[in-house]
Symmetry: D2
Subunit: 465 residues, 4 copies
């Protein structure tokens, strides 16, 4: 799963920092967002504030594109401040415009407020309609604006921005990780189900809030802990405070972070993503063993599960593909009529690794099946005796309402075909998907949401969307 | 070795195609050059000709940048033709300008001629001076122009372009792979020592000449064989002809293609690059064994040797690094004063893989040592008990005169320090470089040039440069 | 007065169209805004709506830059609709960002609303503070948003958008021309003093509202009449309705439209700009005659007054300067140490015209005086016997609070020096400014605001800003 | 005549400087080329050399685009040198590519040579063929390369570059102004007929060679004199030398420089362009008088002749058009079906000037006639009683072989229609073209080439092209 149109998408990554007097917040956020870039490549934004200066002077920059495209040295130089929040976003084509880029900021009686969020609030439209009926006026159509607006409005009737954030968060239904910045405070909120990840870290004397711990490490910091489901943390010059604003009877951590989204070196809810992925591969090996000579994985998403499969089965793991890292966004894809194919140009098989071998090939999912079919074909032409495919997740069967852009049924080979039909279609000697029960091997007793696989949604009104 | 300023550079890749009537040569070359992009990222160029139309109508486009930056669909649409040659180039900063981009074309009494070359002709300046003393006039300063000019001039006194190419090639001293195109012919020439690689392939009815076989495969073709050292092949509508224009008493294939330059899935002079690199790792394990729990490699250049080390030693290979693929050319590198470091942002260690483990870390070379020092430090902080470094090549000690941009002494940690000093500097528990004798393990009885390691140059006047 | 930093600035131009079913509103607005480009070069924007389709589908595009830079064919193609409004803006550097580009649009319970305005509302901050104290939340800091917000909010308690527009307009203090678009209506409002111009025109069956009549003509239409001070016009599919929403005891049309801002071919408040400027030149000649051989003007701003001076005095008018039209925004200005000067490169004097002549040189104003000093020097070096400068406006002495960005005192040569001192500084043989009483010659009995010259502001609370 | 596709084109402008030790040649050339930009907008280039440093170090930059687009501060900073030459070029679409941008430089036994030329050498192809038959090899197809090559080649058999330039120039047939730079010398050559202009000037201690004197003035210098037809000037550190290398029985200065090409403030061959154009208008008035109330001209090309017509006839000259200077290269032209027209958007008539008036309208030529027809129509709709058109040149009837891109017959309204037919087509009350005999009024006894009007070419083999 490595082509743009052949994978599920996470919608966002958030990164915030509360630095000391001399912290260059915008550069720290720049590096943090670069480490979270895998969570969203459509737009990027940074908002900073200088707590040393006059209150309320917030600077922002956001635009369409990668972090390294949106920000240059001269822009970072202008974003002066020691605290700030940043955001990377992916969204479906329709709503893809700079107006929807985050963070979102607004001005009101109590000053200025900026907000970045990852996730999907199911009742945002409902909240917006209600607010509009009460006279609210919006400049755009994003649910971020609805949340920011609601918090600002609530703030006018409460003592503090954190109390307002708590009051509003309690009303939000769905999965979300929020970063809120007022000129004097940095606040992080995580949904009561824990659907979306949010980590707390420290770099020197600076506090960091980040979607994933890999970004904390990237800026030279260390992970302190995860923000708890339903927890709000407030960072001010007095230090860090915390409160559990709401609890859910059961947690529902998104399993897809472990299968695919999160970066290999992140640690989410006390589980290393690498370990979970490795154990997933081991569970695959235990449940679906096969006689073979080598185990390999589709770069990069299938590699770790392949290492796990190898570890359990005793069959050696060997990288079997050379990847062309120069095939980027502007690459002109070959047309059907040309001999060259996009898959061949992006990946090629190392003949020596597979020749006269029985191969186990691991990937994390199958969307349309065209990529894996191409790879299997390459392997056979390179002399593989057999290719046994093992997928480190069950087939997608249900839509996600909490912010994960799972491909819809029309695109999914699994929604229209049996496993045997897919096996034939992709040309594998055998094909097995991870068993739902084996998620326990991956994530132990962590309470997870796996609704996209089994249709059991953690919230009742999930289908209102 | 993955940072721009921390590795040796190859100077070029060439790709030519002689297609049938309907071949879209420019697109085939586009995909071929994309597969050779690792050989040069500074400039790219394509020259094509339509043998169906009026004789001599050659179209060209070249510019600074990656293949995907230089060529767009509308440009490829204008490059109409069924035969053509292309080039990707790296060069040192000084001479970095569009005037030196290749292929180089010229007009003369016999028509038009285009030329692309990979390598370095030691006596180019001498030839140029002699030609100038005889009245030659040049528009630029590249040795490509000297070669093209010489061939054009020779052509005026000979029957055919191939005869001219033979006569001139005999005078060239150094390492080179040349592609020459006249409106009716595609010619490939390889230096008598075989210093530079050149492969012959076929895709359907089209013939291909390419620096590496990986590009032949990328366009859906298959490798036929290597062009022999000293061989010239002439492809016309009558088919392919070949001649040995010159022989050397001993061949001198550049060992660096196997150690570092060539792509993992290429096959050069009947040796798979992957196999050579794997056997290099095995030889390292045999000569420099160590008690350890895991073997890993620096992505991407150290991975295959690590797999080999693991295979021989029986210690399991595990990928230990997560790589951030969004750190590209426009990325703003952190300054010294910032906590974040370029190495940390580009690569991060997977804690679970190395924690409480004795680790063998493989890379293909050490230039300044800053990168590997950073990685070792990361590993220790992730809990590695010990880090034993094994380098899959000997230390660079001598300059290369044949087209490989080996870092000069001032940059090389090895030229000023003993292995023990380097070990201390990078913070490794042990450090060993590949032994010169072990190249035999990599490439068998292939006659190789390893002058950059032992100073034994295959040509006497190597030092005239 | 032709250099960026050597002239006063108008802040905006607005253009709206209510077309028939097939009108391509975005292209008409594109041409209209191009004709109003002299009123603002910083940003440009267009919002359109298709009244044939489902209600409320508004499309917008705005960005920093000239109209021809912000809009391309593919963008105009996406802006489908038969009604729409557009805006060109200039603003001072500080607030120069895309967030402040207009038109401004917002969503609320009653749907969508877009607004473009030219002018300055003195009590906008006050209104904003009051709204915020009542709970209003804003996404930016522009007074356009305050007006749009106020109208949207008012709309929730009134029957119609036009009634809301009337109620809010009555509260606005200052100079303004507003265009408001709801999905079914196009509304134009002009301030009761008539400070800012707004014209009504027709092109075929389409109605047009424009800051100046020149833009109506540019799209092939004809001027119907000016919108009256205090008038609101509402255009719907039923046709056009009008109402006087408020009246002022005395009008106060901005004299600067006639002196400098408006385009030569516009007609504002029943006075042709060309005629006013011509009569201004005649009045100058009458009051400040001089013995001379030729009259000329600084291109383009001084030409028409020069023609008038010539007409009254009988001294022939001759264009005396060649203008280099290739000196644009990216031109690198010469430094002090270079012989070349920006004035010399932009304008050069025609020697034959001035040699051995006594010259009258007309310009519309003097800000720093550097440009005119350079021109006088050129004339002397070309052989002019004497150079008599006549300025077709009095010296700026007071700030403008109604949307005209008059240079502040620190920049103005006139605020610190007597006329005689200025004359010496610029090297003129004589220097005279238009007399305040002579405005009557220009604009007859039109009630004008000339506060920037005499400090008599039409509104009492002018100084609250 | 102001639209791109509605006027004849000059092909080039050249500018060279020999400065003192501290002269910043590249910036002086930048300003000089900006002043010559009207002579060519397709590409721009600068080559400089530092005579203080080691011999032969030439730096060059050229690209497609305007001078202000091709050069930025950082590029000029790199072009270090105290002597240099520059070039602006227009060419027809076919050969429009960066390879044909000038100056052209080459390397040969005697060093380096750069060349910039304006004009057309009729026998360039012949020279090239002959050189190729003798073994010459070219990198491109431009006649500049042929000239540069020939001079370099000749230099090898002569004592000096100036002697080589003389020998080769004698062989050139056609119109040309050449600037040649070797690392120690700056040379200017003008064709024996004087078809192309070339001026000598001085700025401080620096010598300047320029196509027009306006560029000498723009950099703060003064015109010394014109280079004589057939003269070569050589500037070295010893000063300036001159030689007449060839003479023609009769001169043939291009009349089009006076009618249209040259800038108003230039002086060419001792005649001020402004004066010539003014006298042209006077001659028109004398030969084709008409009863009228005002005289006006099409901006910018018809203005000066209109002033002349007014002067002779006593009818007052008044500027009658407002020009929109924001209609640039990226402007989207209206389609036929839109009410707006390109002519209307670019120019608009000042109603007051023409209403109830009999108008004389002057332009310098008519190509297709669409522009003038649009202007006449505007004038009538603005109330003009009659519009009498006077064209300040005769109709084009013959092609130019000397470097002026006169529109070909298929585009020319004059080549297919009688004057009466054209008058009807454009809707004028009367139409007269300048009489061939009246050129004497413009340029006195200057020997001119007016072949495009009368077919009498100054060279016999003019038709070989």
């Amino acid at each position: 799963m490595f082509f743009e149109n052949d994978r599920p998408y996470e919608e966002c990554g958030v990164f915030g920092i509360w630095g000391t007097r001399d912290t260059d917040a915008s550069r720290a956020i720049y590096y943090g967002l670069t480490a979270l870039q895998h969570r969203g490549q459509e737009s990027a934004g940074i908002v900073v504030c200088d707590t040393n200066g006059p209150i309320g002077n917030i600077c922002a920059h956001k635009d369409m594109g990668l972090v390294s495209e949106v920000f240059h040295n001269d822009i970072l130089d202008k974003l002066k401040g020691n605290i700030g929040i940043g955001h990377v976003r992916y969204s479906t084509a329709g709503a893809s415009c700079v107006e929807n880029a985050q963070p979102f900021s607004l001005n009101y009686a109590k000053g200025t407020l900026a907000l970045a969020h990852n996730g999907n609030v199911i009742n945002a439209d409902e909240m917006k309609a209600k607010l509009e009926s009460e006279g609210a006026i919006f400049s755009g159509s994003s649910d971020s604006e609805v949340i920011a607006y609601s918090i600002a409005r609530e703030r006018m009737n409460t003592d503090s921005i954190e109390k307002a954030a708590v009051n509003i968060s309690k009303k939000l239904i769905g999965g979300y990780a929020l970063l809120i910045m007022s000129p004097q405070k940095l606040i992080g909120v995580r949904d009561p189900l824990g659907l979306k990840p949010l980590s707390l870290g420290k770099a020197g004397d600076a506090y960091i809030l980040s979607s994933e711990s890999c970004a904390i490490t990237a800026v030279g910091g260390t992970l302190i802990r995860d923000i708890e489901p339903g927890e709000i943390v407030i960072i001010t010059k007095e230090g860090i405070k915390s409160e559990i604003m709401a609890t859910a009877p059961k947690k529902a951590h998104c399993i897809f972070e472990y299968i695919y989204f999160a970066r290999l070196d992140s640690r989410i809810d006390n589980i290393n993503v690498y370990d979970a992925r490795l154990r997933g591969g081991m569970a695959l090996a235990k449940r679906y063993p096969v006689e073979a000579d080598v185990v390999t994985g589709v770069p990069e998403s299938g590699i770790t599960a392949a290492v796990g499969y190898a570890k359990y089965s005793g069959i050696p793991f060997v990288p079997a593909f050379a990847k062309n890292s120069y095939v980027g966004r502007t690459f002109i894809k070959p047309t059907q009529s040309e001999r060259a194919s996009a898959v061949h140009i992006k990946l090629s098989v190392i003949e020596s690794v597979v020749k006269d071998k029985r191969v186990v090939l691991i990937d994390d999912s199958i969307v349309r099946g065209t990529t894996i079919a191409g790879l299997i074909d390459m392997m056979r032409r390179a002399g593989a005796l057999s290719v046994h495919v093992r997928i480190s997740s069950p087939p997608f069967l249900y839509p996600c309402f909490y912010g994960t852009d799972v491909p819809d049924n029309s695109q999914l080979i699994a929604s229209n075909s049996s496993t045997e039909e897919i096996r034939k279609r992709i040309g594998a000697d055998s094909l097995e998907y991870m068993h739902l029960e084996d998620f326990e091997q991956m994530t132990g007793d962590l309470e997870i949401c796996k609704a996209c696989f089994d249709g059991k949604y953690p919230l009742e009104n999930k289908s209102e969307v």
